[in-house]
Structures are given as C-alpha cells and as structure tokens.
Symmetry: C2
Subunit: 341 residues, 2 copies
C-alpha cells in the first residue's frame, strides 16, 4: 500500500471483495434495484419490536450472509469494521457483539460504507488480516426520528428532503480468493459551506463530494473517462445536480463517464413520490454498491467503478445549537477482476 | 505490518510518536499529574459559551500543539483519525474541519484513544501516510449530561460512579523522526456480561480489558513481565480490581508488572473525593498516555508500556431501552526508542 498524492491510497495487492450481501426493507424492495438484493423484508419492522432492534438485525443479517457468500466462518474473520448513523453507532456495536470478531467502530455518517471498505482494504493490503468485514446499515424510522421527525408523525417535508433507506450492506475483503478488486481509496476532508437545514442534506454534502472527486483525480492521475460509472452516495436530486455543476466549473466534465447517485438509483421517484429528492442513509450507498454494482461487475457490464460515499456529520444536538452541517466524502475505486491491468 | 496471532498487529517499522500534546481542565490540573500536561485551563468553560464548544476547543488545542511539538505544518499532515463520546462524534468532526486534513472518524467510546493510535500506526507502517494525527477529547459536562445527568444538577451518585475527565490528548505518528515507538496493537472484541448500570462502567468494562490483555499476551508471546507498566484506560477503583482478579483466575499474574489504571492515576481520590471511583472519558487514557507516560519514557523511567484503553459503547437510547452495556478494549504497546531490541 502506498500513499498516492495527498490523500489517496493505492492498494498494491488489489484486495478482492470475495463475498458481499445486502438486505433491504419493503420500500427498497419495490424500487428498480429490487432484484439485486439478497433479501427483501416484507415489513418495515423487520420482525422486531423496536426500530433500533430492526436496524441492528439488518446489519447482523447482511454480515452473516456476506460471510456465507465469502465461504468463511466467523472464526476465520479477523476484523469487523462497521458503523451507522445511530448515536454511539450502537447498531454496529450490537452487530459486532453477535459477530464476535475484533471490532473497529467507525463513523462517517452515510460515508461509512466507503470509510469502512477503505479501511478493510488497507488492513488486508498491509497484511494485517486475511479477512476483514466492512458493513453498515440504516433504517428509515431510527434515522428520521433521531435527526428530523419520527416518520409516524407524517409531517410535511420540503422538496429538498431525502428519504432514509432501510437496508444493510456488508462485504468481506481478502487478499485470497476472487471477486471485484479494490484498487484505490481517497479519504475526504470535512467541508462545510454553512448549510444548516437537515432537510437539505444534498446541498450540504455536494461540496464534500466535489472536493473528494477532484482530489481522487489529482492524486491518481485518472479522470472521469477512466471509469465506466462514478456514483456519489446519497446526494439525491438536489445535491447531485450541484456537484455536477461545481465540477464543470472546476473544468472536470462528468459527461465523459456515467455519473449517477445511489440515492437516485435505489427508488423510482415517479412511482415512489414519498422519497421526494431520493434516498439517503448509511445503507444507501452500501446496498447499491454491494448489491447492484458488484453484480454488474461480475456480469462484465462494468469494469471500473468509483463510489464516492457522502456523509453529513451533524448531530441532533449540533443542529439544535445552531451549528452548520460539516460533511465528508470517501471514495473507493473498484475494478472487475478480468479487467485488471 | 503483520497480523500476529488472532487479533494483533506487529508494526515492522515501529512508527514513532514524534510529537504529542495534552490540555486539561482545572480539576485535572489539581491532580497528581498536573505537571505533565501542556496546558491547564483555569475554568471548566474552557473560555467558551457551551460545553460542546468547550470540548471541541480542547481537541483543537491539543491537535494544534501536537503538530507544533512534531515540528510539522498542517499541510504536511496526511490524516487525522479522531473520535469522542458525543453523538455522531461531533467534537472530532468540528476539530477535523479546523485541522483541514483528510479525516477518518472512529468510535470506541473511551477506547478511542488507542483505536485511533493503532490505526494511525497501521497507516504509517503500511506506507499510507508520512504523518498521521490521532486525537480524542472529553468534557465532564458534555458527557455526564449526555449519558447520565447534567453535572449542574448535583444529583447523588453511587460509589461505583466515575467522573468524566475534561481534557484532550493528541499524537503525531510518523516513520520519520524520533520518539517513543509503537510496536504492537491488539484490537478488542465486544464483551457484554449484562451490566446495565451507567453508574458502574468499571464493572461493565472489566471483562473487555481482561479479554484484550489475554489476547495480547497470547498473540505476541509476551507476558506481564515484559512490560514496565501496564495501564487500563478508565476502569477506576471498581473495574480495575475486578480485572486483576479475573486475570489471576485465568493464571495471569499482574504482580509481575506495575498494573495501574489511567482513571486512578489522574486524580487524587483522597483530596478530590467528588471523582468517587476515579476518572473516565475519552480524554482520560489519552492525557495520561500522551502526557504522563510519554514523558516518563523520554526520561528513561519506563522502557516498555502497554496501554489498554477501555470503552463502554452504550448509547443514551440503548440504555433507556433496557439494553445492557457492550464494552471493548484496544491495546497499544509502546517502547522507548533507546530500549528497542
């Protein structure tokens, strides 16, 4: 592993994602990516008595399935790197208690998916583990309750609001075995342009996505044209349009690739208008990446993909105290095994 | 870097702590380690208008001083790895916004000090950074308010209660330059024996400390006698006695070394009876390690030290929902430069 440029890592051994899994709730199961998920719960309660137990179960389920798909036992797993949006990332901690492996808790809000994957790749590439599991989850009703209003209130939302997805994605990274390879990661810097509205996460997070994309291209010498697909995490309709404009002004034309957003891909906004601007939450980029994108890579429909997971790092208290929303984005470059140069 | 045993890393390049800094509040400044801290604030408000801004300022101050002590500029720093006890680790995030470096947010409650130091050493050892900063902070009034009662209430506490320390510690890790070396890290597993009382963190965390100590000795082939000093993070009077008993029952005699606890070292419990069982909080093991222990190593009074930072990973909500307290401990082995074999 080597520091490349100012804030990127190039993984010399190109660790593989040897097994991944995704589980989602009913609304994500009615979206356009439904067929890419391993398990769709038919009830938002996820057969549990509290929303918090539901979120935990999603992560435990996805983690357990990822180990099965990787063909390894719990005992063979060295480290679980996980996090979520709950206070004190309690869902990941309870999942770690069940998984039993040594645990590194991380927090990057909705960028946790790629923060944990980047660290798993780093540890494996450095020889620090044979197998490392990266995972995250979100549940609509835990997250909306904590950061905004309980979903059950049915309060009206502005057109910039996003809908926290219910789902979990987990991936086993190893230097042994086959699967899509992790070639680079770019770790983001905190960006904060003063947005204070928790119903406008897309606008708040857009500068972080742009900053990390520019850094990734600068550090790796790559450009948009080197990727078949670049996805941001959960900027949704408002934020994704902003980041495209900002990059264009910076002289980076995203028209040279397919540029999409996991928050726009997971729902059909016409048929599911309650999602308003699109999806968000820790699980959003995790289930789209580990479900949809990895499957397309395995089929040979995608060779090189860059996932730029975005995170709004506010706390309920910092918002109540009138602070602006600090944001971050972490990028991980994936490459189809057969396409490796 | 190499995986050693089941859950430990041996850092082949032995990264150095080339600069560290600690800042504390007035009560820690009246304790026995007062002379080891770089700056003692004379007011618990840390000259700020809210407790949250005070905690953030502690971390910003310690981080800034650590860079000065390391002799590097903000621009030379590749990564900041930080966390704290606040919901969504907002203090670390705001500090990261000010520091400006790429940021990896981590959460291990009071084990954050050694989780962040282990990851900084891992990244440097793997060639992923020239300089990485690890830092954490806690403030008595932010933490007590969030997890128990606001300090200002003056509510009575049981004899098992601990006192969250006000302070921050930060360290710059590099493969270039001199300073105490980081030779090993052992990443802990979540342990939960069913304790539900947030006024008895020591008992809750003791099994995690014992588990990580046993794992460290098993993985590295070392024993208590190989260290001049082994400190747990913040078990304080109740938890520290338990872990010593548990280890004795496991056939590990801690009488072969000096076995202490940062929560017992930071205050004089006779002269400062309000701390009850002793200190706790993210800042506790950070300021004792980066202040007191590093200074003793530099003077040659300590050659090999193992710091086992302990963390109670509960959230205010998980406690209210009747869940038990999941705990963890991460260990980092430090070695005096001249004493390296």
């Amino acid at each position: 592993m080597m520091l490349t440029g100012l804030q990127s890592w190039e993984f010399k051994s190109k660790p593989a994602i040897i097994g991944a899994a995704t589980v989602v709730g009913p609304e994500e199961g009615q979206g356009p990516l439904s067929g890419d998920f391993d398990f769709v719960y038919d009830n938002l309660e996820i057969d549990e008595k509290t929303w918090e137990k539901a979120e935990r179960k999603l992560l435990e389920h996805a983690s357990s399935l990822a180990l099965v798909h990787a063909g390894i036992s719990r005992e063979e797993l060295q480290f679980f790197i996980g996090g979520d949006l709950m206070n004190q990332i309690i869902s990941a901690t309870f999942a770690a208690r069940k998984i039993g492996a040594p645990y590194l808790g991380v927090f990057g809000a909705c960028s946790t998916s790629m923060e944990s994957l980047a660290l798993a790749a780093l540890i494996v590439d450095a020889g620090g583990a044979n197998y490392a599991l990266a995972g995250t989850a979100s549940h609509n009703c835990t997250v909306e309750k904590q950061f905004r209003y309980p979903t059950e209130y049915g309060s009206q939302k502005p057109l910039t609001a996003q809908y926290t997805i219910t789902g979990s994605g987990a991936a086993v990274v190893s230097s042994q075995g086959s699967g899509p390879r992790i070639t680079h990661a770019t770790i983001g810097r905190v960006q904060d342009l003063g947005v204070k509205d928790p119903f406008n996460m897309g606008e708040a997070m857009a500068p972080a996505a742009a900053d990390t994309l520019v850094a990734h291209f600068r550090d790796t010498g790559r450009g948009p044209e080197d990727y078949d697909l670049i996805v941001t995490g959960d900027l949704a309709a408002v934020g994704h349009a902003i980041v495209k404009d900002v990059l264009e002004q910076d002289g980076v034309s995203m028209n040279k690739t397919i540029f999409n957003d996991c928050g726009l891909m997971i729902y059909d906004r016409d048929k599911q208008p309650f999602v308003i601007a699109g999806g968000s939450g820790c699980g959003c980029s995790a289930v789209v990446t580990y479900g949809h994108i990895l499957k397309k890579m395995k089929k040979g429909e995608l060779n090189r993909v860059l996932v730029v997971a975005t995170g709004a790092l506010l706390s309920p208290l910092s918002y109540q105290q009138g602070e602006s929303i600090p944001c971050i984005a972490h990028a991980v470059a994936l490459e189809r095994e057969e396409g490796l140069r």
